[in-house]
């Protein structure tokens, strides 16, 4: 039943449901392949890859989650959707989030042929995306606004790009340093903890949500 529900949610999004797939399978290859042809598997290309995947991919990892929530937080009569249990959409969100990560995995598996450490970078991406998941989950049910959630999430990804960190941390995470033990300790593990807290908080505010239209 949950698969049918997810399929209908995505059908409701119309063209918007394809945006993450277009980003992953059209825009990203079209961006990356010419650079690969020009620079080869070099450090410069690796740096670009890190910057690109750490800013673009996390934002689109929560695209489906945010937009399927529109009916629940912005539509007239949204209270009807909260009458029946479960009141939270966590299962749907996790499935869609996992689907996005699986699609991203395809790209990283292809990148393995160019950069042998691609899967480690994929792990880094998962940690960043989980933080975005938590942030957007909390924002949706506290702001009751999809546009505001998108704006704040986008602002965060731009901030991560624009704020240079002398020392990377879990919040301002953008780093051009290849994945190593330092990145795991100082960025990834704290991000996993932050993500768990945010997702739990998101569940809480989702369950307590009573801003009915």
């Amino acid at each position: 039943m949950i698969w049918r529900r997810i399929a209908l949610h995505l059908k409701c999004l119309r063209f918007f449901s394809f945006v993450p797939l277009i980003v992953l399978f059209v825009i990203s290859p079209l961006t990356f392949i010419p650079l690969l042809n020009h620079y080869g598997p070099s450090d410069a290309l690796y740096s670009f890859l890190l910057e690109y995947t750490q800013t673009v991919f996390p934002f689109f990892s929560v695209w489906w989650i945010i937009f399927i929530s529109r009916e629940y937080i912005e539509s007239d009569g949204n209270e009807l959707l909260f009458v029946f249990k479960p009141r939270t959409l966590l299962r749907e969100y996790l499935i869609l989030f996992a689907a996005y990560l699986l699609c991203a995995l395809v790209l990283y598996l292809l990148l393995l042929s160019v950069f042998p450490t691609a899967l480690l970078e994929y792990f880094r991406l998962i940690c960043i995306c989980l933080v975005y998941f938590g942030i957007s989950y909390v924002l949706m049910y506290t702001t009751s606004s999809v546009p505001l959630t998108v704006l704040i999430t986008l602002a965060y990804s731009l901030m991560a790009m624009a704020v240079p960190s002398e020392q990377v941390n879990a919040v301002f995470y953008l780093s051009l340093q290849r994945f190593d033990g330092d990145i795991l300790k100082t960025v990834c593990i704290p991000q996993l903890i932050i993500a768990c807290v945010l997702i739990a908080l998101g569940c809480f505010v989702n369950k307590k949500y009573i801003r009915y239209r």
Partner: protein
């Protein structure tokens, strides 16, 4: 049977429902009250959208919070309904059937049954956003009927509808199985006049009246007069002008007054009884 015992609900310091007790058995109930009376809050308590004291609301003797299957017995149409506008009528119904956990087997027949009962079958493949306001409301009624629930709750179901759609709603309600408990919340008395067996009047979170439509009419017995508009000026604060209309004599007023007046008394209507309660006549 849905029983509400000493239900209170407040938001911050504002008490919206005040120690309310009422029993809904089978039949059609009109829940009347002015804006802000607590009708929607009461409905949201019944549908567990707002948390309540554990023993305040029981269904067939079991507190609803402890009854796992309670919500499967409830069909609800909220005051505003505009969900899944980019889906077709069929898909929107399928989505809501899924959310309501209606068993998958026979769901197609169930959707068709409900859509047919509200005369929307010819638009079943149309997108919800292409429907008129009245049709969207009918879709809302159809989704409330999914699963054939024992309790049906309609919150202001005719708000914004034209006379034809209001009549259509009354016809739909009249065809419902009388063994169900149907609660129609409204501030429009004419909505319930011909459809409801019993009326509950809420005001400021309290039950001002509970009884049959005839009983509510009797509240205004001997208090309803028809006078000319000119005469109302001489009466001043001794009366409440219920309505005005024009006839051959000019503009006439239907007034409510507890005083014995020398004007023509008329038989009270449901609206007269309701206004007497609200205005304290």
């Amino acid at each position: 049977m849905l029983k509400i015992d000493n239900l209170s609900k407040k938001f911050g310091r504002k008490k919206v429902i005040n120690d309310l007790s009422i029993t809904f058995e089978s039949g059609v109930y009109g829940l009347l009250g002015p804006n802000g009376a607590g009708k929607t809050t009461l409905i949201r308590c019944i549908t567990q959208l707002y948390s309540t004291d554990p023993a305040a609301i029981t269904f067939d003797g079991t507190p609803v919070q402890r009854s796992d299957g309670y919500l499967s017995h409830v069909g609800y149409l909220p005051q505003k309904f505009g969900l899944f506008r980019d889906l077709s009528v069929y898909d929107a119904m399928a989505m809501l059937a899924d959310i309501k956990r209606i068993p998958r087997g026979g769901i197609k027949d169930e959707i068709y049954r409900c859509v047919e009962s509200v005369n929307l079958i010819d638009r079943i493949n149309s997108k919800v956003k292409t429907l008129s306001g009245g049709m969207v409301k009918r879709l809302g009624i159809a989704q409330a009927l999914l699963g054939d629930p024992e309790i049906l709750i309609f919150d202001e179901p005719t708000a914004g509808l034209d006379p034809e759609e209001r009549l259509r709603f009354k016809l739909i309600v009249s065809k419902l199985d009388r063994s169900k408990t149907v609660i129609i919340s409204t501030h429009i008395v004419s909505d319930i006049e011909t459809t409801c067996d019993r009326v509950v009047v809420l005001n400021s979170g309290n039950v001002d009246f509970s009884g049959s439509c005839d009983d509510l009419c009797r509240v205004a017995a001997g208090k309803v007069y028809v006078v000319s508009q000119e005469d109302t000026k001489t009466l001043g604060g001794r009366c409440f002008v219920q309505s005005q209309y024009r006839d051959e004599s000019g503009v006439m007023c239907r007034i409510l007054s507890a005083d014995e007046l020398s004007y023509e008394k008329v038989s009270p209507t449901l609206e007269d009884g309701y206004m007497c309660l609200l205005k304290g006549v």
